[in-house]
Amino acid sequence: MTDVMMAIAILLPLVAGLIIFAVRNYFLRSVIVVATALTLIVNSILTLKHGPFTYTPTGFDWGLLITILDYAILLFYIYLGVTLRNRLVLIFSFTQLIPLLYFEFIMKAHADVQPAFVVDHLAIVMTLVISIIGSLICIYALRYMYDHEQHAHVEKSRQSRFLLWLVLFLGAMNGLVFANNLLWLYFFWEVTTMCCFLLIAHDKTPLAIGNAARALWMNCIGGTAFVLAMVFLYAKHGGDALSVQAIIGGGIQGSLFLLAVALLCFTGCTKAAQMPFQSWLLGAMVAPTPVSALLHSSTMVKAGVYLVLRLAPAFAGTYLSTAITIVGAFTFFATSALAISQTTGKRVLAYSTIANLGLIIACAGINTPLSIAAAILLIIFHAISKGLLFLCAGTIEHQIWSREIEDMEGLAAKAPLTTLITVVGMLSMFLPPFGMLLGKWIAIEAAYRVPLAAVLFILASTLTIVFWTKWLGRLLQVLPKLGLPFEKLSPSYSVPLLTLVLGIFVVGIGIAPIYQNFIAAATSNVISGNQVLAAGWANIALTGTSVKAVLGYFPVWLLFVVFALGVVLPFLFVKLKPTELRPIYICGEQSGGLEGDSYLAEADTKTKIILGGYYFEDSLGEKALNPWFNTLAIILFVIMIGCGVILK
């Protein structure tokens, strides 16, 4: 049973991806993608039902295969560095390759880690997020890429290639969250980096290739830190230390151990695009929107926060833990401020993602049962809401053919259904009763242990309100007229969109039972380190994270009742009669009747009213803030690695 589940989770996406690559028919390809998506979803739910387990594949030298593939990927990077003439890609591929060669041929590293995979409750949460949300995005991509190529008048369709990397990504992510053997984790880590490069570069424009190369070299810095961490661990503690469970188990002590953990956390931060590495994720916005949706919601960046969260017990109670909190909280604050000045919708979404990842990393750093619970909740809620918002951004783009917020002015009157879904997605990012706010609420409760983090959280959540509300305001600006009927969307768009909207409400309203049955166990698994293996799955004590302790004494569903009374019911029942409509007030200088949006200026010249959002480019723009923020962020990382050297 478990071997079938593992095979489906990790290998099926590869096999299906190759078949999709071979099939050149739109309809047949769609059938295979949908079938794969459904299989992955069902498989992840079966994994949840089965509960945690460990697994080591047998009958084949998988370790050797993975080692060979590791080198294949690195040689591919070097090839890219040469053909793209990108020095940074070359440099950081070699910084990865050389220590790896040293590690395997000079040190003759030999690790026979048992078990190779540990599927605990956290891994199950992650695989649910990856399989369900990732699959929905793949379904969305079917139609999106078709429209995308129609609009760009592409001569030779490259959709099947695109879908190959998209589906393969899901398998690599599943492998990453299941892996216990550090070498295998590293392999899956590199596969995601590679898929990420190929997907960002998909459109083959110079900008796309340049940004993809940036994503590659920045993630190669992380990969280098990963290899160095493995070298340090092996040099000091031998092959047994190359296991995630051994690292978090508390059995290993020593001068290089904490440094290795710090390096691994640094790797996680690069993948989670923490400042100053934010630019790769922002650059990734040039890719077709399903890529952004996938990178931001269920894969790639979530791998980064997963690694930090997973390692939480290894740095509990050290200065490193506090340093990680500050690194995350600072990114949360800084990127929330930068998001205000952004005029492109997808860049606002990107900054908001980086901000929330910072919050999750900070929660892992605070390292109490409460904060770990907040981190896991945030991972889930963020995946749903941000997945939805990117899909909305894509749908809007294919209606107005623009990504600029100012071009979305009055979208409520042009595309009411898309706007409605987008508004729900945006509200769910920062307001009660929705999950993201719940996560922030718990995070602030937990943050008093590190008061600086609490203050940064507060400032950041205020800035969050500003940039979302600003954008919402642009969408909702309408002229006095009766509403239009909902527009028609292709099922490839509407099914994923509506499923995610449903997800926001179901997970939000049912958070108490979901927490109790499923996230509490994940929290305990994270906190307790590898006692799971020693004590057996059933014997892990719930570490003081009852529903009440986490969700407070205030039933969350009550907040949804308030939301229904205040927003949903008025939305459904307030109807206008044509006779009630009036023109807007312009001091009596109205021109053009009811729907006129112009006024009589000097000498009675008819002048169109032009409104725009505030962006505060001078005070909050990237030019003004980035030098300060990037410098501070680099200093914080140096301190973080430094804390790895100082033992508590």
Binding site: Y448, A454, V455, G473, Q477, P570, V574, I584
Partner: protein, 285 residues
Amino acid sequence: MKELIIVILTLVIAPIIGGLLFGIDRRITARLQGRYGPPILQPFYDILKLLGKERIAVSRLQFVWVYSYLVFMIASLLCLVLQSDVLVLVFLLGFAGVSLVLGGFSTKSPYSHFGANRELLQIMAYEPVLLLFAVGIYAQNGTFLISEIFNQSKPLLFNLWPLFIAVLYILTIKMRKSPFDISTSHHAHQEVVKGVITEFSGPYYAMYQLAEWYELVLVLGIVALFWTNPLWVGILIALAAFLLELVIDNVAARMTAGWMVRLSWTVGLLLGIINIAYIYFTKGV
């Protein structure tokens, strides 16, 4: 059952108190300006008249956001009277604030947009101080529950007086008084017509007024939390703060939005941070 009675009483009594305070506000302000002023009950007459007006509309969505403003304001006040979590209170108040901004944005009216943008800056100015106030309560009591404030014999004011000053500062913003009547103003010192509420009219303007009454009771209630044992001292402090705001309103000129945000993000935050840091280092976690 007891809670249900409290809820119903709040729904009924809070607007009466709020309306009366608004009437007193208009009367005192008039006297300070050498006018006679309207009767104390004038706000009630106004709202009854508005409710009887024919409904006219510039945007359907605007009506939705007015409802949401009122409902979330009431929910936030209920959080206070039911002595629930102070963070939930602040978040619900945040939703109310966002609703008003979106109400202003839901039309293509330039005045309304000016007002909405400025209202958003007001949120930016007061939200962090309110959240710091919540963390200050946590630092002092070890919980965010308002009921715990009532269990403590020592009033919050003794240890949280810097935060008290910061809260007074945001009270001015919340009451839309000079120097911070930036998005819209009670009295006629406003160059952007009626700011964020320019396009609100008739029964929906009445609903907005009602929400403002609830809000006044809510923010004065927050001030009263600084002295809960005995509660009447806290209420007196709140009333004194209310009168103080009226005086400030009449002696101060309106400032720019940027100035408000900067002052709040420097002085306001500093007061809060110093306060919390002091408690953190003296009391520990």
